[in-house]
Amino acid sequence: MKLTKAWFMLATLMLMVFSITACGPQSSDNANAGTAASNSATTGSTTTGDGSGAGAGGAGNGKGNGSAQQPAAGTDAASEEDIQPEDDAKLVIWEGSEQQAFLEEMAKQFSAKYNIPVEFQEVKPTEQMNRLKTDGPAGLGADIMVMPHDFLGEAVAAGLIMPNDFYAEETKRHFAPAAVAAVTMDGVVYGYPRNMETFLLFYNKDLVKKEDLASWDSIITFAKSYNEPAKNKFGFLYEVNNYYFNYAFVAGNGGYIFGNNGTDPQDIGLNKPEAVKAMEFYRSLREAIPIKAADITFDVKTNLFQTGKLPINMDGVWQLGNFTKEKLGFEVGSVPLPPMPNGKQPLPFAGVKSYFVSTFSTYPNASKLFIDYVTSQTSLSTNYAMTGIIPARNGMEHDPNIQKNENSLAFIEQFKHVQPMPYIIEMRAVWGPITATLEPIWDGADISKTLNKAVEDIKTAIAQQSK
């Protein structure tokens, strides 16, 4: 590599010598920062928020919030000191359009209280990191971002986000342990959790009784009685070919992606006996869904459910706003994933949407103050009322609005049995090979052979990746 540098230097010098012939004395290293490359980026993006269930990771084992101490109603910051914001601070926050009304309302209140203006710019959570990589150094990035926690590994590696330092204790005290673990890396808390996202079983109350969803066996029995494949009538569907959903069975059985709570890329548990057992259970679901895995796409099953043809649909919290009686014309119920035949609970992936402070921010303290403001009990309650996101803050299940909504309560129940998705960068190497195993296993291939090959492929990819 030294050689290349030398060549490059030589070439450049030659160029300089040839060009500046007969000139005065050459001077160099008179350093004055060069012209800044102004990387003018357009603000504002299109489309609405991300409504796909592939994104989240972390560590920890979602033990729910047993006894959350309830802080005094109103402002919970009453007893806790606040950080001193910078003078003349003004903030920019990035979020998807569905949170715009809420954040603008918060900005109004916050400005009235602290005299710090906050500007909302629409950038989807999944696109923020790539935007920040270029906009941040150019001084155009946001101060506050909202990202799914599975971006944490890369964001920390690239030095894009500040640790959650001043409010770390408060965060740990007030938020669900699984959510805090998901935004903690090497013992340092980085994020300020807002809400968790996972999936469960939605059902059409006109077509199926809640008792039929008591166990997987009863679901299979119900589906068999309901199915008419020739007419495309199915009792239960989910995205069979999407590992995001199937990992719930693997994790529930004691299989794992990465050891040490999802942080050790050298220890892959996707082909362990527990995982093989889980995949056997996965294949047993073919009794209920007697078709090819790849054909059950998100579009197809969602359409069937929304048109009242599909009784049971496994889908995520992001559908809560779409699966309402007003929109669909029938009552939608939801239940957490029932235990598997061996009595173990499936552990679906959880994604944690969390606020982060950009390292490029000129006003980190004011940013932290604003985040503390929008993650208070009162603000999160407002957020639920306005957007329907279920806050990951302890004690929020007692919120009267949430109490009124049985589907939200079902999710709060499911949050007690989740596993945050690993956030380490090696996770990217997992998706391709592990997804490739689903179709063959569904169609009857040898499970442990298939999984062994996938793990080999993942190891190869990780070895390449860390070069």
């Binding site: 540098k5 290293d29 008179n30 004055n32 800044a36 090819k292 054909d295 390292t359 990819a461």
Partner: protein, 437 residues
């Protein structure tokens, strides 16, 4: 007889504009001297720093320091920004050098003019001359400058990335520095088994896809055009409009609809086949069928434009040629082979090349129709139907392997550029133009 030209050229070489002053072109000389002074000032203040940046790509990482209860950022060098800034300075210096060369030439010429007893133009006359005689150059120079800074510079930048280790996870600025690694990314991509396997697999499918998609859309359009233009076909305008519809609907929409139409279980296509008692193929889940499906979808989207072009050309073929052929007793197939086909190809072969290049990088169809699926565990970050451009997208946007992505973009560029140039030089249309000049 004074050696004006030598003196003027030497003076201009010493200080830009001196030769012009010597030639009594005071305004122009004064302006050039001013630019010269500014240029030196710019070079002295920037060149050292930018060369250091280009060569080292930074030496300090960004760090976080705990001060009391909060972390403070200690800014470091951002390798990628140093690279861009260094290139900008380098390009400005190149422009400056070009001006310098021009000024020496100008001084020499005007000196020559003086030797021959002429008088160099005064400034007002020079400006007038610029507007009257050199108007094209004047109009073309701003776009040229734009191209220089907004096309050439980014191109050079992205090519240079291929010679660095700019990639996730270990070399992401600003928390890490990026280094020059020479041809390491190239050798990794072409020789390491996991990568090479993916590269050759994706590459060969890309070539197959580009050729087949171009051929199918072109000849599909050709066939339809011939049918529409048959003398016995009625309501020609109606048919033309109908067949333009696939092109008129945004590809974005039609592809997402087609993705559901080709669903093997729920899609209408297999439902119809089942109705006739046939079992339809797994359009999207079988690697081979998925490729066929993409080709079909692309043909549907792409034939109308070829059809329209070819209809246009068909109407320009003189009727008397066909009449003469009929008199000689040619069959309709012979007429097609000897008259129609050559005339169409004569006009359209350059367009075929552009279509080929477009299909080679047809991101939309692949990304929206299959997004590279079905998954292929032998590939690194690619699926069975990924082509180079979608793989590049996965590598850079999704997986942060910027250096590999840059290598692939260089490969794509070299390929397309060479095919285009070679083909373009071979087409008869191009040669004819030479003859006409």
């Amino acid at each position: 007889m004074k050696p004006y030209r030598i003196v003027a050229a030497v003076l201009s070489a010493i200080v830009m504009g001196l030769g012009q002053l010597y030639n009594r072109q005071f305004v122009k000389g004064g302006l050039l001297v001013a630019v010269y002074v500014w240029g030196w000032y710019y070079a002295l203040t920037n060149v050292g720093q930018s060369l250091w940046g280009l060569m080292t790509l930074g030496e300090k990482k960004q760090r976080l320091e705990l001060v009391g209860r909060v972390y403070q950022k200690v800014a470091g060098d951002h390798s990628i920004f140093l690279l861009v800034q260094g290139l900008i300075v380098l390009f400005v210096v190149l422009l400056f050098i070009a001006l310098y060369v021009y000024n020496i030439r100008d001084a020499y010429r005007n000196g020559l003019l003086r030797e021959q007893g002429g008088k160099p133009r005064r400034f007002a006359a020079s400006v007038k001359h610029l507007f009257e005689q050199q108007f094209p150059q004047l109009i073309l120079s701003p776009p040229l400058l734009f191209i220089f800074f907004f096309s050439v510079l980014p191109l050079v930048f992205s090519v240079l990335i291929a010679f660095t280790n700019y990639s996730s996870p270990k070399h992401l600025p600003p928390a890490n520095l990026v280094d020059w690694t020479g041809f390491a990314a190239f050798t990794d991509l072409f020789s390491l088994h996991a990568w090479a396997n993916t590269f050759y697999g994706v590459f060969s499918w890309t070539v197959v896809w580009a050729v087949l998609s171009t051929v199918t859309t072109f000849f599909g359009g050709f066939a339809i055009a011939l049918l529409v233009q048959q003398p016995i076909t009625r309501f020609k305008a109606f048919w033309r409009t109908i067949f333009m519809l696939p092109f008129a609907i945004p590809a974005f929409v039609s592809l997402l609809i087609m993705r559901n139409m080709f669903n093997a279980q729920f899609g209408p296509i297999n439902q119809y086949l089942a109705w006739f008692g046939m079992e339809g193929p797994n359009w999207l889940s079988d690697p081979l069928w998925a490729k066929v499906t993409i080709l079909l979808a692309n043909m549907w989207l792409g034939f109308p434009i070829s059809m329209l072009l070819i209809i246009g050309i068909l109407t320009t073929i003189p009727r008397d040629m066909y009449e003469a052929a009929e008199v000689d007793g040619a069959s309709s197939f012979q007429k097609f082979r000897k008259i129609t086909f050559p005339s169409v190809m004569f006009s359209l072969s350059p367009i075929l090349i552009t279509q080929f290049a477009g299909n080679f990088n047809n991101f939309n169809v692949i990304y929206l129709m299959t997004n590279g699926r079905p998954a292929n565990s032998d590939y690194q970050f690619a699926g069975s139907t990924d082509i180079l451009i979608t793989w590049l997208y996965n590598l850079s946007i999704t997986n942060g392997k910027y250096n590999f992505a840059s290598v692939i973009s260089i490969v794509i560029f070299v390929l397309l550029a060479s095919i285009s140039v070679w083909n373009f030089r071979r087409t008869r249309a191009f040669k004819e133009e030479d003859g006409l000049r």
